[in-house]
Amino acid sequence: MATPIIETKDLRMAFGDNEVLKGISMQVMPSQCVVVIGPSGSGKSTLLRCMNHLNEPTGGTILFEGHDIAAEDIDINLIRAQMIMVFQSFNLFMHLTAKKNISLALMKVKGVEQAEAEDMALKMLAKVGLSDKADAYPGQLSGGQQQRVAIARAMAMQPKALLFDEPTSALDPELIGEVLDVMKRLALEGMTMVVVTHEMGFAREMADHVIFMDQGVICEQGPPEEIFVNPKNERTKVFLKRILCQVDAMDPLKPNYEDTSLENGNGTCETAPVAEQSAKEVVKNDARTGLKRWFGLR
């Protein structure tokens, strides 16, 4: 069996006392599209950010093609260049045109000549259907167009994996489709992808493997047919029911016949007390460090 491109072993992450990831072990095989779903605050985004080492995990290991990315002798920049993240808020460089956004990292990280890098940029823009926007600045593009440029920027580096962190969550509903189309095309081309999303349609259609996370643990994982059609874990069931119910509720022509039983169901309010508690913690910490901070000490 081939080595997985990304593998996490008992990955743990805590912000202060707030444990966000409580031992995540998962694998991403080459050309696989892994979709991570789960309620907000379940640690999905943190998991991705740890893989890219934007957050340093507090425990466990992350292997990229079998190499521990936290090892002393590993250049994290070389790893990152092969496993690029696409963000919820696009994060295009605001002062550069679409073309320059794409060519910058090619030139600085891979040492590609400017002319060649810009050729590559145009090629990638064509691939996401934005050839005519090469000289536009991010501020002149719609959200959907910005996200497509961001995907083109990541693709231009020819990474071995792409990490999508809720790529459509900041978009207007009518712009989501164009971004998902690009992602579907990438998945069909055999790109290795880890996608955190709330787009269940995409997950159902494109995922090779679905992971359901809640409160920092993987509750259930498996092929999409299994997770969506026949979920075994109670929390998965509640989550999927709620999401699908919302989709139904958004349809104005559909009578709302099933809502009462779910609104009062267990699980819906589970996260609220946790959030309240952590807010209290923050206040307490503030008082303690207040004096220190007043003197400009860290």
Partner: protein, 223 residues
């Protein structure tokens, strides 16, 4: 009241020599202060405690003491340690060191006004911290900081008059010289006030022009 405005044309070139020196002092101090400000500002956001501590101490010291005292300290004080400067050099040095402290804070505010995601996106593609800083963060930070930099440059032009205290014959000192001969303080101080205003107003116009030229299309300020 006997205001004799003819003293201006009579001493015009003498006063203009002073104005020239004021300009030279201001421009050199602005440039050194700018470079020093970027280095200090970078140090101020460093995670290295020593680097952070030293830069913070420097900034607090230079912001917290009068510029005139700093000028005296450099010109009259440092010779006791074996460091002798000409009045002009001492003046430029004091203004540069002082302005660097202020410009460091301007630069830091500019960098911290850039959303965290810009750095993350850049790092996520494998660029190093320095590459991301240099190609992504600083170009945007400087643009955001332009109005504040304009403030600082204008302040520095005006504060350069303080170096007359150690005998640098810049604009204010030349005016004082002429007053000693002609007893026309009102005329001369009004005149140099106008000259200072021309310098500061031009500075603000030039900075506005630069600001417009580098404005990012599709953002506020850009078209």
């Amino acid at each position: 009241m006997n205001l004799d405005w003819s003293v201006i044309p009579e001493n015009f070139w003498f006063l203009m020599d002073g104005a020239k020196l004021t300009l030279i002092i201001a421009i050199i101090a602005i440039l050194f202060g700018f470079a020093g400000g970027i280095l200090l500002g970078m140090a101020r956001i460093s995670k290295n405690r020593a680097v952070y501590g030293i830069s913070t101490g420097y900034i607090e010291a230079f912001r917290g003491t009068p510029l005139l005292v700093q000028i005296f300290l450099i010109y009259f004080g440092l010779p006791s340690l074996g460091l002798q400067f000409t009045p002009l050099m001492a003046g430029i040095l004091a203004l540069s060191l002082n302005s660097a402290a202020y410009q460091a804070e301007i630069f830091r505010a500019g960098v911290q006004s850039i959303p965290k995601g810009q750095m993350e996106a850049s790092r996520s593609m494998g660029m190093t911290y320095n590459q991301s800083m240099f190609h992504v963060i600083i170009p945007q930070a400087l643009r955001n900081s332009m109005p504040t930099y304009t403030n600082e440059f204008i302040t520095l032009i005006k504060d350069s008059s303080l170096v007359m205290a150690i005998g640098v014959l810049e604009l204010t000192y030349s005016a004082k010289d002429v007053i000693a001969d002609t007893f026309q303080p009102f005329v001369l101080y009004i005149f140099i006030a106008v000259v200072y205003f021309v310098m500061t107003f031009s500075t603000s116009r030039i900075m506005r022009f630069v600001e417009r030229k580098f404005a990012i299309p599709g953002t506020m300020g850009g078209e």
